[in-house]
């Protein structure tokens, strides 16, 4: 049978998340796993990075939501993209990286990839099997 599903993407795995951040041109800095916020308070994170505009952000694993969540001091957010757009972009690229790597493991090949005007990415993958 065949099916059609809609999936709400959550940042559940570190590897595709780091790949997504790199792909978007953000520099992951795994030496300093903390984010310094207002009045010099530090928050430990699992993945840390510097955004242009000296905005330091990170992703921290949350046991309740079972996913990575953004840690940033919004008062110190100087990056040109608003934080909501930044999260969307990362989530979209995370979904792309996850799909690419998981389907490759299963033997699928990309036959089509398109960037659509509405900002979405369309992907078609196929596999021949007995």
């Amino acid at each position: 049978m065949s099916h059609f599903s809609t999936i709400k993407t959550q940042l559940k795995e570190a590897e595709p998340l780091i790949k997504a951040l790199n792909d978007l041109g953000f520099k992951v800095n795994q030496e300093e796993k903390f984010v310094k916020g207002y009045r010099g308070r530090f928050t430990a994170v699992d993945i840390s990075m510097d955004l242009p505009g000296e905005t330091k952000v990170g992703f921290k694993w949350n046991n309740n939501s079972n996913s990575y969540e953004l840690v940033a001091d919004l008062d110190l957010w100087k990056f040109e993209l608003p934080v909501e757009r930044f999260i969307s972009k990362v989530t979209q690229m995370y979904a792309y990286q996850t799909i690419i790597s998981k389907t490759k493991e299963d033997g699928y090949q990309i036959v089509e990839q398109k960037n659509i005007n509405d900002g979405s990415i369309e992907l078609v993958l196929t596999k021949w099997e007995n």
Binding site: M1, S2, H3, F4, S5, T6, I7, K8, T9, Q10, K12, E13, P16, S67, S88, K89, T91, Q92, Y94, A95, Y96, T98, I99, K102, T103, D106, Y108, I116, D118, G119, S120, I121, E122, L123, V124, L125, T126, K127, W128, E129, N130
Partner: protein, 70 residues
């Protein structure tokens, strides 16, 4: 030997629409279970028209969903 096809539309906000075609029986669920688990939460799941085709029928004939009449 059917061709298995996965189609994805990854929206700007990260929402993913997935269409799985060319599987027989329940194997399509197994095919994408792993991926769906890594991606997040499945919010909607529907069987598409060729879900109702049994093994002996011609899959190619009904591949174009928009032409299917019941």
């Amino acid at each position: 030997m059917p061709q298995k096809t996965l189609r994805f539309k990854i929206h700007q906000d990260g929402r993913v629409e997935e269409t799985v075609e060319g599987f027989i029986g329940n194997s399509c669920n197994e095919a994408t279970e792993n991926l769906e688990n890594s991606l997040g939460k499945v919010t909607v799941k529907n069987k598409t028209s060729d879900a109702f085709i049994s093994k002996n029928e011609n899959l190619q004939q009904l591949n174009n969903e928009s032409n299917v009449t019941f």
